[in-house]
């Protein structure tokens, strides 16, 4: 069984990069031979189950596991008290005194959100562990919980962390340009209160962790579907009090990540502790309800925003107070809260911007990276304000955007927060979108439909996705942090039989890296992707990596591809050097094609296999200063700088962007939104594999449309998550989506070696367009969208409250 090569007609000009090559990894997934973390079993492995708090906030009075431990086959229990003894708390990014926020792998002293793990139990089988968990008796003293972020900010609010002076654990103001003058000089000022709702990309595979521990050498091996192994190893080594060199991290195949699988590190710590305690490998498999209750939620933000415009539609300035509802711990926050910097003004020339940002802890699940982490939220703010500005001015929302776009001949363009947009054609993309959508025709269709009593609307949205991330962003929060830049590594080995193995530190979760890496190397070496094996998953013992390795922030197309490309060039150069030496010609006379090194213009050649054999085995034929073997390791590092003192800087390297146009209809009886048409345009620069990129875009649309129409993580006043299973959290099915119409622009990035921009997160344009379209549909009824979740009951209420609607009912229309 072999993965078939792409048919000849797709292989134009023998170049692989840029071709829609079918994926090498498909074969194992199609036939049920994927290797996901729960497919891994180890001899003597035990199974863990977590006992979780039913209360949003409660003091843990005592844990009695004696009955559970009496059962045959139950091995050990771990409690927060033991964790407090055995481990150090996780590091925090926020400033003193809030860095005293205590975060461990189990709840210590108090449980701070419903579903927080308070204890763990380990048994021979998963069923037995679940039975034993029910016998663990936890006594709680319920405490007042705070679930409303504005209430949490009040001085007399219950405190989530009793040792902190406030629930407002971080605040900062970002003041760019001259916002006061902008608002003073404005002809029109529009104020909006907006809520960006909490949801999750909810990958289909839940978190799984296996840990084994070896006491004599004090070493551990962790298997997990985590996206950032090389940040998390040092991060967990501190609580575990082990050198990070002693922890091996293996990521098998991952069933979707989307950012959600970045922050599973508390579970990694718990698993290692359990392995230590029992002397056996321990596996934990998260259930779907645990995943929704206690893994990671996307950023939830309350905005009070204002936009200042002149009467001709020029946006003079934007200011906003943003309050982030972070849940009970900060974990990687406030990175999501300050990620706005990268897309501060999306694609517009807005030179005056002020953001007053607070992060607030509440008794809810923890917020963290979720596809388009903090980026989609900023795009939403700007785009909704622009749309509201257009409505106030009586201007077409597309026209207003066109007026304010950064023009292609102004690229590279440094936005007001210091981010350098690396190219793109925003007006050109908008024009194409309008053409494909038939914007004028759609407007006419809408007007006609409204006359017939249908509630229809058109919306436009722009999203932006800055990738990868300059780690110096953390210095904006804490200037003393010694972290900056980004890097990725790749290795290539050609063994003496000519077998080729490529490894990178990128951790795939469905993005097809095995295929794109093979395409890049195939081009450099004059071979085909089928001739190359790319090591699947990630293993810190065998893969090339750097401290930043992982897949997040849409980085692969820049740093992963950059590293593989660099390694490919390096090994190519060495092959050419050896071939030239052995065939006694100049290096310039050698070309690589069809698996051979040929002397140009002659029929003299050597195969890669022959060259590799000499390099490894026939060393007396090599000059002394040439390293034996055919192996290369390359580190790619985009040129990132330190941020400037005034919180400005280039925090991404490339800025991909997209525009969506949507046509929606609202059911007058239920308030449900139906998307009739969705046209999505994207520009990711040069696409390494158009097939894979298209798949990523479809997926991003799926997540964003799903979030807008169906997916909402909502709590009751007592802090109970009401959407904690797939029965209540509506992960959309194929029947819930329209057909997507997707097109591309491909304006190469001037910043990267292959002209690529990061892709995959999507920037938010479908979600934004959906909001704007529903707002447009409700406008004739005096309705208005202020929440990114388009809840049918809220829409229905707006329709029912409008006098026009009442009149229609009365007149029987």
């Amino acid at each position: 069984m072999t993965t078939e090569k792409a048919p000849a007609q797709e292989r134009q000009g023998k170049k692989w990069v840029g071709q829609p090559v079918r994926r090498k990894e498909d074969l194992r997934f199609l036939t049920g031979h994927g290797n996901y973390t729960d497919d891994v079993t180890l001899p003597g492995m035990l199974h863990a189950v977590f006992i979780r708090s039913p209360y949003a906030h409660a003091r843990i009075v005592g844990i009695n596991a004696s009955k559970a431990l009496e059962m045959d086959g139950v091995f050990a229990v771990l409690t927060g008290e033991e964790v407090k003894e055995m481990t150090d708390p996780f590091d925090e990014s926020i400033r003193a005194p809030f860095d005293q926020l205590r975060d461990y792998c189990l709840a210590v002293d108090t449980a701070k959100h419903a579903g927080e793990a308070v204890a763990a139990i380990v048994a021979e089988t998963p069923y037995l562990a679940a039975d034993a968990a029910e016998l663990v008796d936890v006594e709680y003293e319920p405490l007042p919980a705070v679930t409303n972020v504005e209430k949490a900010m009040e001085p007399d609010s219950p405190k989530v962390h009793s040792n902190l002076p406030s629930n407002v654990v971080w605040n900062d103001v970002f003041d760019y340009g001259d916002v006061e003058s902008a608002f003073r000089d404005a002809d029109v000022v529009v104020k909006e209160r907006l809520h960006f709702h909490r949801f999750t990309s909810a990958p289909l595979e839940n978190t799984v962790v296996i840990a084994s521990y070896e006491p004599i050498s004090d070493t551990a091996t962790v298997w997990s579907n985590n996206q950032r192994p090389m940040l998390n190893i040092p991060f967990i080594s501190k609580p575990l009090r082990m050198p990070s060199e002693n922890i091996r991290f293996i990521c098998p195949d991952i069933g979707g990540g989307f950012g959600i699988k970045n922050n599973s590190y508390p579970y990694l710590v718990a698993a290692v502790l359990l392995a230590k305690k029992t002397g056996r490998p321990v596996k934990w498999v998260e259930t779907r309800s645990e995943h929704l209750e206690a893994s990671t939620h996307g950023n939830e933000v309350l905005y009070d925003g204002e936009i200042a415009l002149s009467s001709d539609g020029t946006v003079l300035g934007v200011r906003a107070r943003a309050v982030h509802d972070e849940g009970s711990y900060m974990r990687r926050e406030p990175i999501g809260a300050i990620n706005f910097i990268r897309h501060a003004t999306v694609g517009y020339k807005i030179r005056n911007l002020k953001m007053d940002i607070s992060t607030v802890v509440t008794n809810k699940a923890v917020v963290g990276p979720n596809r388009s982490y903090g980026k989609m939220q900023q795009c939403y703010l700007i785009e909704r304000l622009i749309d509201c500005g257009a409505r106030q001015l009586g201007m077409d929302p597309v026209e207003l955007r066109m007026k304010n776009f950064v023009q292609p001949d102004e690229m590279p363009y440094e936005n007001v927060s210091g981010c350098r947009l690396d190219g793109g054609d925003y007006p050109g993309m908008m024009r194409r979108a309008m053409e494909t959508f038939d914007y004028e025709g759609a407007k006419r269709e809408c007007d006609e439909a409204r006359k017939q009593g249908c509630i229809m609307g058109i919306g436009v949205g722009m999203g932006m996705d800055g990738c990868p991330i300059n780690a110096a962003l953390i210095r904006v929060i804490d200037p003393k942090r010694q972290t900056s830049g980004d890097s990725e590594a790749a290795s290539i080995r050609i063994d003496e039989t000519g077998g080729i193995l490529v490894t990178t530190g990128s951790v795939p979760q469905g993005q097809g890296f095995e295929t794109t890496c093979a395409q890049i190397v195939a081009d450099e070496l004059g071979i085909t992707p089928d001739d190359i094996r790319v090591a699947p998953g990630f293993d810190s013992a065998t893969h090339a990596y750097t401290a930043f390795s992982g897949t997040y922030a849409s980085r692969f197309a820049i740093v992963g591809a950059g590293a593989v490309y660099g390694a490919g060039r390096q090994i190519r150069d060495k092959i050419v050097k050896i071939a030239a030496l052995l065939m006694e010609v100049a290096e310039d006379d050698i070309e690589l094609a069809d698996g051979q090194a040929r002397v140009r213009g002659t029929n003299r050649s050597m195969t890669l296999r022959e060259i590799a054999h000499v390099a490894w085995r026939d060393l007396a034929r090599l000059p002394e200063d040439l390293e034996a073997g055919l192996y290369t390791h390359y580190v790619y590092r985009p040129k990132f700088d330190m941020p400037e003192a005034n919180k400005r800087g280039n925090f991404s390297f490339t800025y991909s962007y997209g525009i969506t146009l949507a046509l929606v209809e609202i059911d007058a009886g239920t308030g449900k939104v139906k998307v009739h048409r969705l046209v999505v345009m994207d520009d990711f620069g040069r696409r390494l594999n158009p097939l894979i990129v298209e798949g990523q875009i479809h997926g991003a649309i799926g997540h964003q449309l799903g979030a807008a129409l169906y997916e909402n993580l909502y709590y009751d006043d007592e802090g109970q998550l009401l959407s904690s299973t797939f029965k209540d959290y509506w992960a959309p099915t194929a029947a819930d989506f329209p057909e997507f119409e997707v097109e591309y622009l491909e304006t190469p990035s001037i910043a990267t070696p292959l002209g690529t921009r990061g892709g995959g997160e999507g920037g938010g344009s479908p979600l934004i367009a959906a909001s704007n379209a529903v707002d447009n549909a409700l406008a004739p009824f005096g309705g208005h969208i202020t929440d990114s979740f388009l809840a049918p009951e809220r829409i229905l209420k707006q329709l029912q409250q409008s006098s026009d609607h009442q009149t229609e009912i009365e007149s029987g229309g």
């Binding site: 031979h33 994927g34 289909l204 469905g510 798949g695 649309i701 029965k727 029947a735 989506f737």
Partner: protein, 171 residues
Amino acid sequence: MPKRQVTLRINDESYTAEIEPRMLLVDFIRTLAKLTGTHVGCDTSNCGACTVHLDGRSIKSCTIFAPQAEGHEIRTIEGVAKNGELHPLQQAFHEHHGLQCGYCTPGMIMSGLQLLSRNPTPTRAEIRADISGNICRCTGYQNIVESIEAASKSGKAGDWGQAPWKGPSET
């Protein structure tokens, strides 16, 4: 809970084990038959990652206990390709990029096989309705629908390999 011996027929092989009667079929398949291609993605039978065929009909293997499957023929994703040849539906998923992380894929293939055995020329809307019991988070479904439609149109349908659909009155 007292155990009992159960023998299940999966992909034309017999698997015998002593199990607690409450063991779910999906757990038997994964941990005792060691066929890990069938996946678990939820705890409320919504996601479809556990879809297998029982006597040629799709079922969610998280919704029945292993002993209930005794005496029936079970087919999992591992039993779809024959003699090293991909089934035309698997081939179509490969050609049309109908999978990304691969986690929903076995369930999607099993559902797709059932759809095409009952309705060899479905419309795209019919495809969408029929796979609405299988959640995918990666693809937005677009290319999955594309793949199933392409397989139905390919003329290489061949043997869909499944038992003919018996109406409810005949089961």
